[in-house]
Amino acid sequence: MIDIVIDITLLTFLAITAVAIVRITNLFAIIMLFGIFSFLSATMFVVMDAVDVAFTEAAVGAGISTVLMLATIALTKDQNEKQSVGRISWLPLAVVTLTGTALVYGTLDIPAFGDPEAPAQKHVAPYYIERSVPETGVPNIVTAVLASYRGFDTLGEVFVIFTAGIAVLLLIGDKRRKSTPGRNEGGENDA
Amino acid sequence: MSTATLLLLTLLLPLLGAVGIIAAGRYPNVREGVTLVTASLVAILVVIIAYRFLGGEEFALFVSEPIPGIAIAFRIEALGMLFALVAGLLWIVTSIYAIGYMRGLNEDNQTRFFAAFAVAISCAMGVAFSDNLFTLFLFYELLTLSTYPLVAHSGTAEAKRGGRIYLSILLGTSIGLFLLGILITWFVAGSVTFQDGGVLAGKLDPAWAGLLYALFLFGIGKAALMPFHRWLPAAMVAPTPVSALLHAVAVVKAGVFTLLKVTIYIFGGDFILSNDVTGGLIWVAAATILFASLIAMGKDNLKARLAYSTVSQLSYIALGAMLATKSGLIGASMHIAMHAFAKITLFFAAGAIYVATNKKLISELNGLGRAMPITFGAFLIGALSIIGLPPFGGMWSKWYLGLGIVETGQLILLAVLMLSSLLNVAYLLPIPIRAFFSKSAGGEQYTEIKEAPKTILLAMIVTSTACALLFFYPDPFYQLANLAAGGP
């Protein structure tokens, strides 16, 4: 029962934080709140038994991402959104409502939260749970699946990170800000 | 030489010529030498082929099969032979003329001009010899593209505008309607190969057949049926040899030729006749004949008047095709040749006038006749041939068309034919009459004006003579037309 209480409370906090992030215009505050958001969602992962995910989300979302965002606003020196808070953009709102409705519609059929009879729990997953130790000798099933059964995904994942590194180096890897005047040739009045 | 080789040679020779022309671009004399040699060779080849064809030999060539069931292939049949003959013979004349014309006016980009010209001829040959709608369409489009630089030759704003109209209508109708027609044909009949008796016969509901025919009729924009005739007057911005090529030899004839081919080998004359496929459409041709003539009367620009005259004359051929009776088809086929010779004469004359006097308007021609007798003499002959008076070749085609109409019993069409002949008289004859008998507005004597350069005169003389000759010896063309129409 306490699980559910924690679960629901945290989710509510998440929702409040998210709304606040949408509404607030001070970027610094937004990033702070994003840190909270990450922590909260990581805690949600803990509550929902996804310990590895929680581990990673905390380290990445609340750690690296936040630090990078801070670095960005330090570099851009813009700490406030220019767009007025009160303005509601109707078209995006409509799109979002539509998407949300579609998703809610999609969840109507979905097995209830925690249902052990859900199809997702019945097909591939039990195999991993049963065979992980005999086949790989690794008690942490997530590691077994991650590194062995779906090791290729993880290889891809490492390459994703590597790509990000290459990309960041390409973009802002130069130690000094470039001041090449000719870079914007003819670009000013491009229609 | 084997038949296939001959065929291939006819197609490739102009292309080789084009390459040679580009290669020799820096030396005008060599370049024009190459042009003339190629043109002569092609003319000789075409005549040889015609001779052997009439002797009963089969000419066929398979190149490739891009899509299963649809090949790029060539096969010569009577109608194509006729067209090729006209194109091949007139190219050399036009070349001679063009050399004089271009030199006389000191035009820019002559190399491009001659090269594109040669490519256009190659394409026209491809159209003529094609064995199926696909191949025909391929060369039909290539023809449009290769003539675009010719139309827009001068590079002025007007020329480009003309070129744009030219391209957009021709490509537009062909891709929008013609291609659709081909696709539907393929879809319905499972074949687009030209066949005696038509591939569609019996496979298509007559009501739909009418629609499909309409697709072809309008889709073949080169046939310049109203309302898709605008490109032709617009293309008048081109230099005169080009106009000659467009209106007499390659482009428009390729259009009506295609129409005839579709009529005869895709639909089949019998199918059309027995199901009255073209019943309503025929009036489009009739209307075009009359309206174009009327518009022609109102034009003061000589070339524009000739252009509308062409529009009107092309519809004779369309009309003949849609009659689908044997005489009608013979008339239509022969008109391809007859009109070609006559109209090219007229254009040559118009060009000669321009080269010699820099005049483009009919109203300025008063009294010129005495200064340029040969030119206006040729013009008169061409005009008479177009009107259809003996002793000129144009008479034959009108005769057979008339016969065709009588066979179907649609006498109103006959009236149209008569009326249009009268209109022809009304818009063509005043021109030489003005030139010979009127005094120029200012009363000048044009002593300073001389005839155009010799090569131009030579070309005019050749074609006007041919007009007369064709009255007396229409045989080769008649034979081919007769064969095409399914005669013995």
Binding site: A102, L103, G106, F159, R183 | -
Partner: protein, 491 residues
């Protein structure tokens, strides 16, 4: 070797990427990339051959049997797409050498080629995999690297375009992820073949429908399907020439492949036609062809014009898919191939112009046709192919598309396809007119023809355009085979 063919195709470029990243400046990274792409093109060719002759290849990564492990599953469809991707890459690289040296600062070149290889490997990974989540991972590899590569364009708009693409692309990928999640919730598997087995039993569920919709929208974003195409014109316009060439002729193709795969293999037959998806595809195709073509006409930047044209061409493929018939899918696959050829050639030619004069706006290129005849020739022939003039590859595509439309009695589509060709004629006409019929501007009078190293790859593609226009046996044969392999059946 033979056994690991389909795997090596992905792993070789993947491994080469980090190597290229640490190589010293100079031409070595380029050489590595060239070798890798050539090797991949060869392997892809072998793979296609193997698949055509011996049937489907299944490769179990990590030695775990699917659906527990990840599987590479190659049939004619992905073998064909893999060949297109690696072939185009192999042709692009010789072209890249000079173009990149001109457009990218020296010290970034090793990283550039590394990112290029990653993008390449990502695209191949998407193509080869038989696991829907593995697909997502490789999708991200290719996407991330392409964002970076696009941002390297010389004008500052390259940055905003890349950003825009990043946002749209990530939204797309996330939508895809949502869709996969929903489907997983009801099937418990991620393997495509396994999904295909299990989906018929649950295909009536709302969750599955929503998941399907999200996957489709996600990939429609990646594919730049109208009206989700907004990122594409900018991205293609401002990216470095080489990247435009590469992405235009591969990235959207791969996205299209994924759509086809999911529509016809993963989801049961008839699912597409039972949902509004098929109609939406047709609708979007029609709208895309018309509006993007019209937009293209009004562009003054040639690259942008071609980019809009790409959106229109994607519309054609969408039409083909939307017909949901064997013929339609065949047509879409044929066009997928042909469009890669024609857009590759066109963007290469435009890149050659940029190489010489640094820009490609209409007013910059006036009269260049006479200074750069070979480049001009490539643009003309590429343009004709785009229009669909017979004798070029484009015609074959149009031919099959119209036939497919006729088969469905979809008259409006027929009209739209042909209208699209006409509009293509108008916009290509504009380019050609500017190149050739405008007098040479003073600055352009000294311009020389592009170097051989740029021209040769361009003309290889140009000739391919003509070759596959005259002999479509290979394309059509493979495409039909592919449509069969996908299991598309007529309505």
């Amino acid at each position: 070797m033979q056994d690991h063919l389909s795997l090596l195709l992905v792993v070789i470029p993947l491994v080469a990427a980090p190597v290229a990243a640490v190589l010293p400046q100079g031409r070595l990274p380029w050489f590595v990339a060239l070798m890798v792409t050539s090797a991949c093109a060869t392997l892809a060719g072998m793979q296609l051959w193997a698949v055509v002759h011996d049937g489907v290849i299944s490769y179990e990564l990590g030695g775990w049997a699917p659906p527990w492990g990840i599987e590479y599953r190659i049939d004619v469809v992905n073998a064909f797409v893999a060949l297109i991707v690696s072939g185009i890459a192999a042709i692009t690289l010789p072209y890249a050498l000079l173009s990149v040296e001109k457009e990218i600062p020296d010290h970034q070149i090793p990283l550039f080629y590394s990112a290029f290889l990653l993008c390449f490997a990502g695209l191949l990974g998407i193509t080869q995999t038989g696991d829907i989540f593995n697909l997502f991972v490789f999708l991200e590899i290719s996407s991330l690297s392409s964002y970076a590569l696009i941002s390297l364009g010389r004008r500052r708009q390259a940055l905003t375009s890349a950003y825009q693409y990043l946002i749209m692309g990530t939204l797309g990928a996330t939508f895809f992820l949502i869709g996969v999640g929903l489907i997983y919730a009801q099937t418990g598997t991620l393997n495509m073949m396994d999904l295909a087995e299990r989906l018929p039993g649950v295909s009536g569920l709302k969750t599955i429908h929503t998941g399907f919709a999200f996957i489709m929208i996600g990939f429609a974003l990646k594919l730049a399907l109208f009206p989700l195409h907004l990122w594409l014109p900018n991205a293609y316009t401002y990216a470095p020439s080489v990247i435009t060439v590469f992405l235009a002729s591969t990235a959207t193709k791969v996205a299209l492949y994924v759509m086809v795969r999911i529509l016809f293999t993963v989801f049961p037959n008839g699912f597409v036609t039972a949902t509004p998806a098929a109609d939406l595809f047709v609708l979007s195709g029609i709208a895309g062809i018309l509006s993007a073509s019209v937009y293209a006409i009004y562009q003054v930047d040639v690259k942008r014009l071609l980019a809009y044209s790409s959106v229109a061409q994607i519309g054609y493929m969408a039409l083909g898919i939307g017909f949901a018939s064997a013929m339609g899918v065949t047509a879409a696959i044929i066009h997928l191939f042909n469009h890669a050829l024609m857009k590759g050639a066109l963007f290469m030619a435009v890149g050659a112009i940029i190489y010489r004069i640094g820009a490609c706006r209409m007013e910059n290129i006036e009269g260049l046709g006479r200074q750069m005849p070979w480049t001009f020739g490539a643009i003309v022939i590429g343009g004709l192919s785009l229009i669909g003039v017979p004798g070029t590859a484009g015609f074959i595509s149009k031919w099959y598309l119209v036939l497919a439309a006729l088969e469905q009695q979809a008259w409006i589509s027929v009209v739209v396809i042909l209208t699209g060709s006409l509009l293509a004629m108008v916009y290509m006409g504009k380019v050609i007119e500017a190149l050739y019929f405008k007098p040479v501007t003073e600055t352009n009078i000294v311009v020389k023809e592009a170097p051989m190293l740029l021209l040769t790859p361009t003309w290889i593609l140009v000739i391919a355009n003509i070759y596959f226009g005259l002999d479509a046996e290979f394309t059509v044969g493979v495409a039909e085979h592919a449509a069969r392999a996908l299991g598309v059946v007529a309505k």
